[in-house]
Amino acid sequence: MKLSIGSLALDGLVRNNPATIQLLGLCPLLAVSTTFATSLALGLTTLVVLTVSCALVSLLRSWIVQVIRLPAQILIIASAVTFADLVLQAWAFELHSRIGLFIALIVTNCTILARAEAFARRHGVITSTVDGIMMGSGFLVAILVLGSVREILGHGTLGANLHLLWPGFTETGLQFAGGGLLIVLLPPGAFVVFGCLLALLNTLNARWGFSRETTEEEGGPHPIRDRPDIIGSDR
């Protein structure tokens, strides 16, 4: 096995990015990416939940036998999400009141179950944790790009309300224009912007070929060919 931190990072961030290559976790990705601040908050929470669940699933992988693996993985993920939800409510109340609705929905982010199922239950704790961090970062980067573009086009600002995340930031952020295109903020706009992003990435990929099919040893399930694996039988 050649699973260095470097190759895991390359997989998570670029080659096998959960959002732009595997197209997983689109529900929170499209719903929350209306501004940079909410994107950052949800991206970071997802990163933490993903890392913790990957580590736990990997740690318990010898106990979790075949027939119970899905309920067991969902139980672990749901507990991690509830944990994050309560902790944020208790110690980051302001932030939670902004994105609270979507915290609970992290549990439905397929990226997390996909990583648990396709990677964590077949690899060691450290490798799985690193994979969780990298895949989470890949999702974070994708949602941040989407959030920035949509905030600039839709609100004419960038980084507004970041002070809720960190008191050092200003409330207004960078101002570019007085207003923006409403459609970009609405759900159809999310699809359009995300589509444009995918088109751009595909063009770049066709030129430089950074994304490639990764073998199972390298930890990357093929986006389409391996989908049945998530719900279906084990190979």
Binding site: V32, I64, V65, I68, A72, F83, V87, L101, F102, L182
Partner: protein, 200 residues
């Protein structure tokens, strides 16, 4: 199979215990946060710390400074938001004008409907100074529905729910204080007014 059942039961048990622990640890801070936030919103509405709230009934408080009664504070919840209940504090001066409104709990869409939240947008300050003229009760709506209050980019349902909730509080307030409005009561065309009269 036996191992599977045992593992699942054990895992559920451990998950339950850990979540109970976390819940125990966070319950107090969460309740504190909510209470603090709610009180801070009350003070923001009345713009002063030197104030007392006397419970009238479970949704209404009489607001008093040291020597006089200056208004009432209502807590109201509307189910008409885009996503679930919206809970508001509505401060009404004795004169019947709105002193201020604050949303204390909502689950409106971040980036769209959540602009009713004063931390995100000053929109809700628009209510201050308005009162309910029963002859023009339909002006208590958002502009796109013929009213006088701005809706905001991307959301009509949420601001409309808030406008209507504040309007209903004012109707209730006028009933309470029974301000002389004999001439306006003659207006029989408005269904809401008729309902109020029946109630009275």
């Amino acid at each position: 199979m036996k191992q599977a059942v045992l593992a699942m039961v054990g895992l559920t048990f451990v998950a339950g215990i850990s979540l109970t622990l976390v819940d125990g640890l966070t319950r107090e801070p969460i309740a504190n946060n909510l209470r603090q936030y709610s009180e801070q919103q009350q003070r923001q509405i009345w713009n002063t710390d030197d104030i007392a709230f006397n419970l009238q009934n479970d949704q209404t408080w009489i607001v008093e400074t040291r020597d006089e009664q200056i208004g009432r504070m209502y807590r109201t919840t509307t189910p008409n938001g885009y996503n679930g209940d919206v809970t508001l504090w509505v401060g009404v001066r004795t004169s019947g004008e709105v002193q201020g409104v604050r949303v204390i709990q909502h689950q409106e869409t971040p980036g769209l409907g959540d602009q009713i939240d004063h931390r995100i947008s000053p929109w809700i300050d628009h209510f201050t100074g308005h009162s309910l003229d029963r002859r023009q009760i339909e002006s208590w709506d958002v502009i796109s529905h013929g009213g006088i209050f701005d809706q905001f980019t991307g959301a009509t349902i949420t601001p409309r729910a808030v406008v209507h909730a504040v309007r209903d509080v004012l109707i209730q307030h006028n009933q309470f204080s029974r301000t002389p409005q004999a001439d306006i009561r003659k207006d029989k065309t408005n269904p809401i007014l008729n309902r109020i009269e029946e109630a009275e």
